[in-house]
Symmetry: C2
């Protein structure tokens, strides 16, 4: 049969599709918050760092968590600064580093995101166990590919 290259047999395509579908699901929230999905990911890192009192974060530290480099983050963070969600300041200790911090505006979005997240999860509640399994398998897979 030789369907090795059959699209629907390819894990890569399933991941690509699932990832885009999820982002699509976030659109109502993102539209209301007036941010993009990658910007939402950045905010999640910063909200979390805020909880842990480890703000500000360098661009590098942020990029390590998201697996993104300065080529992606530099323009993205400039846009977020324009939106007054974050601040971008050179470290005085090490002039190479750019310190990223949350502004009041960026912090304000957190409770809104939390309530949206609850709302978006609602239709999936009855599949909680299935989602937990998927998440766990993805963790293994990501570890397998070398993280």
């Amino acid at each position: 049969m030789s369907d090795a290259l059959h699209l629907n047999n390819q894990l890569c395509f399933k991941l690509y599709t699932a990832s885009r579908l999820v982002v699509r699901g976030y659109q109502p929230m993102l539209k209301e918050l007036r941010i993009t999905y990658p910007q939402y990911l950045v905010l999640m890192v910063l909200w979390q760092a805020h909880e842990e009192a480890s703000l500000p974060l360098s661009l590098k530290a942020l990029g390590d968590k998201l697996h993104l480099d300065s080529g992606t983050l530099t323009p993205l963070l400039k846009r977020m600064q324009q939106l007054e969600l974050i601040s971008r300041v050179r470290s005085e200790i090490d002039e190479r580093q750019l310190k990223i911090d949350l502004t009041a505006g960026g912090l304000e979005l957190k409770p809104k995101a939390e309530s949206w997240r609850a709302k978006l999860r609602e239709p999936l509640l009855c599949h909680e166990q299935q989602l937990r399994e998927l998440a766990s398998q993805l963790d293994d897979f990501i570890a397998l590919l070398g993280e």
Copy 2:
């Protein structure tokens, strides 16, 4: 604790990360074949259609399989035409439709991709069952989100 928005607890972020990691894994093949990952997906659809003797495909039919619209596909297919991997011809029956067909050049890449795929899977062979599970769970998840 309130770690609902913790990055590592978010399925969406795992999918986003896993998807990008896989594409990264394909880079050696893509570099040799001188194509991008989305172009590889298009070729997979066309190779499969070729097997089923259902070429040419309209842009619409291609987009339905990949869940991509003309905004993405039109420029992508134009580039693939430049690379002489595909042909783009208006349907004579319905002038709205653009028929996409494989060229000899596009067909030539298939055996190369097949052998690359075998090589790329090699290090994962011992996790065959785990990958099959993940694929199956992704199918369920994609169906859950409405496909």
